[in-house]
């Protein structure tokens, strides 16, 4: 019996099988994705697009990819489709939001996190981060701690002079400070009376 991948390969010469440890998976070039998706939905009956996500493959060639997880609600089978955005500087792939409305939000998320443009998307704007955020956080070069940037609300930023700052990766309240004379008591958060330490005697006690 022919597998699904064989059927797809016979139908489209641009489809290549993809290594996968669970379900059937194929690679499809971005320029052929729409034709492939139409066939997948209308002829093969893959009626659910469960998930799609961007991946920063960080390879020497094409860097940004999108991985789709399709589901056939009748046959209860999965199909994974992967595509690569042809341009590393301005990554773009066609949008599937017109075929599966579920792609709408997922594509917005992939755009938000990786800066991948989905051509033909009705409302491609940030979804988890705020409008006007300058970075794409899931790209590999984005640091875990984050990057200092402006607050989303300009009026609050002006009034408070506050910014979105990078998370402290070390030297937080639970770490001993890297000073010449440091004691655990000056590093650990504690409740109650904090007026005395090893250096300063407890009030009412003779030092």
């Amino acid at each position: 019996m022919d597998t699904l991948v064989d059927t797809l390969k016979a139908k489209f010469n641009f489809v290549t099988p993809r290594a996968s440890s669970d379900t059937e998976a194929v690679n499809v070039p971005a320029e052929n994705l729409l034709a492939f998706a139409h066939y997948l939905r209308d002829e093969l009956g893959y009626d659910m697009l469960l998930d799609l996500c961007g991946v920063d493959w960080d390879v020497a060639g094409l860097r940004f990819g999108v991985v789709y997880q399709f589901y056939h609600s009748g046959k209860k089978t999965y199909l994974r489709v992967a595509t690569l955005a042809p341009d590393n500087m301005a990554p773009a792939v066609p949008s599937l939001a017109a075929l599966w409305p579920s792609a709408d939000w997922h594509e917005r998320e992939a755009y938000d996190m990786f800066g991948i443009q989905f051509v033909g998307h009705p409302n491609l704007k940030r979804i988890l981060m705020w409008d006007g955020y300058e970075f794409y956080p899931l790209r590999k070069e984005f640091p875990l701690a984050g990057i200092e940037s402006e607050l989303p609300a300009a009026d609050t930023a002006e009034a408070t002079n506050a910014k979105v700052i990078a998370a402290p990766m070390m030297g937080g309240p639970f770490n001993a400070k890297n000073e010449e004379h440091h004691h655990m008591s000056s590093a650990e958060p504690r409740a109650g009376d904090q007026s005395w330490t090893e250096d300063k005697p407890k009030p009412g006690q003779k030092g």
């Binding site: 290594a19 996968s20 440890s21 669970d22 379900t23 009626d47 659910m48 697009l49 469960l50 998930d51 996500c53 991946v55 920063d56 991985v67 997880q69 609600s73 209860k76 999965y78 994974r80 599966w100 409305p101 579920s102 709408d104 939000w105 998320e109 996190m113 940030r126 979804i127 988890l128 981060m129 705020w130 956080p137 899931l138 984005f142 875990l144 984050g146």
Partner: protein, 412 residues
């Protein structure tokens, strides 16, 4: 001497008619949330209203975004387990299990029967816990306060059981890649059995209070209808999909954790409205009790972790302290993480809120290269712009309550 002056009011009736004409078609934008009791978290809705009728609804999410996927790329597989607690924080045990199975699938690891049975009990208790809260707050949203008191009491008992099992009531972090953190405590299964006995009358009580309650029916029937076609196209999963009349349950369709050995039924709705979603959840709790009872009855003996997976599951503490080989093994797993072969996997588990999916890319080693989480609540909220328009402002609370979402896994 009093004087009287005549004031000309003009044609009052015509003026008010003209005013009503002028107001006609004037829309008002209402902002709900992000901190509002009906939004069950930090969901924000921008609603355009014509009088009392919703014209347009735009959900704004991301207020609880913590960058879980970025964090996952920077830590070992086991270190990420506590982060999965905080996805659907109303069913942390089910998230733990789903995540562990996803990674184990990547490592092509089979769990021993006892581990699977423990995980099944975890998943089903988590489902009962989540649905108890879901139905409780849904009742509250629809004006039936009492339900919440009944269901919350039972949920509290469940949390005591979770605490005995995992050491934590809320953030359980119970699974490890290749097993669970520890075996069940003595007598725990008996107490779970006792809980199953206690919870069934409460479910019946809720059934009696709500299912034929005229006010509840009027507020939920025909409201927030999700058609079969929409449910599939929008990728809705879980109870919300089944309420639309589609027979889809991953526990039956693509069994994991040995679900194929349990005898249970999958309730499905007919109309896909708020009331059907309530009914499906109510029945699912009864089925979960059935599954838990079967799991208790035939709880297998044997190891509760994959003994053969020496590079993945850290050995028990007693062995670590007495044997050199196990000490080294433990050290390697703690410092470098469980060694997962290169590959990619997408695994979904039937969680209380829907199908929670993990897409994991491994390039070998103890840290995932990419870990993407598909939260079912993210998908459930994506359909709001489609189903909200045409409803009254008061229906919004009902629709939100019936979708049973949680922002922790929506925003990640």
């Amino acid at each position: 001497m009093a004087t009287s002056t005549e004031i000309n009011l003009g044609d009052v009736g015509a003026r008010s008619a003209a005013y009503a004409e002028e107001m006609q078609g004037e829309h008002m934008t209402l902002n709900v949330g992000p901190s509002h009791p009906t939004t069950h978290g930090v969901l924000r809705l921008l609603i355009e209203l014509d009088g009392d009728r919703v014209i347009k609804c735009e959900p704004v999410i991301g207020y609880l975004h913590r960058g879980d996927e970025k964090i996952a790329e920077n830590m070992t597989y086991n270190q990420f387990v506590p982060y999965t607690d905080r996805l659907d924080y109303l069913a942390p045990l089910a998230n733990n299990v789903a995540y562990a199975i996803a990674v184990e699938k990547l490592a092509k690891l089979e769990m021993p029967p006892r581990c699977q049975a423990i995980r099944v009990i975890c998943c089903e208790l988590a489902r009962i816990s989540s649905h108890l809260l879901g139905i409780g707050v849904f009742g509250m949203d629809a004006g039936a306060w009492t339900i919440f008191m009944y269901t919350f009491t039972q949920r509290e008992k469940l949390y005591t059981l979770f605490e005995e099992l995992t050491g934590a009531r809320f953030t359980t972090s119970y699974t490890r890649i290749g097993g669970v953190a520890r075996d069940m405590p003595d007598g725990w299964l008996g107490r779970v059995n006792k809980f199953c006995q206690d919870v069934l009358p409460v479910i019946d009580e809720v059934d009696k209070l709500l299912t034929r309650n005229k006010i509840f029916l009027q507020r939920t029937e025909g409201i927030g209808v999700i058609t079969k076609e929409d449910a599939l196209a929008y990728g809705i999963t879980g109870a919300n999909l089944r309420a639309a009349g589609i027979e889809a349950d991953l526990r039956k369709d693509n069994p994991y954790c040995g679900y194929e050995h349990y005898d249970f039924e999958v309730p499905i709705g007919t109309r896909g409205d708020c009331f059907d979603r309530y009914l499906v959840r109510l029945e699912e709790m009864r089925q979960s009790v059935r599954i838990v009872r079967q799991a208790i009855e035939k709880m297998p003996e044997g190891p509760w972790y994959a003994e053969s997976a020496k590079k993945i599951f850290a050995p028990p503490k007693s062995k670590v302290l007495s044997s050199m080989e196990e000490l080294i093994q433990n050290f390697m797993i703690v410092t470098e993480g469980p060694q997962i072969p290169p590959g990619e996997v997408y695994f979904e588990a039937e969680n209380p809120k829907g199908a929670l999916g993990f897409y994991i890319v491994s390039k070998g080693g103890g840290v995932p290269y990419r870990l993407h989480i598909k939260g079912p609540s993210f998908v459930s909220l994506g359909i709001l712009p489609k189903i909200m328009p045409g409803h009254l402002l008061t229906d919004i609370t009902c629709i939100l309550g019936s979708l049973d979402f949680v922002l922790g896994e929506c925003d990640r």
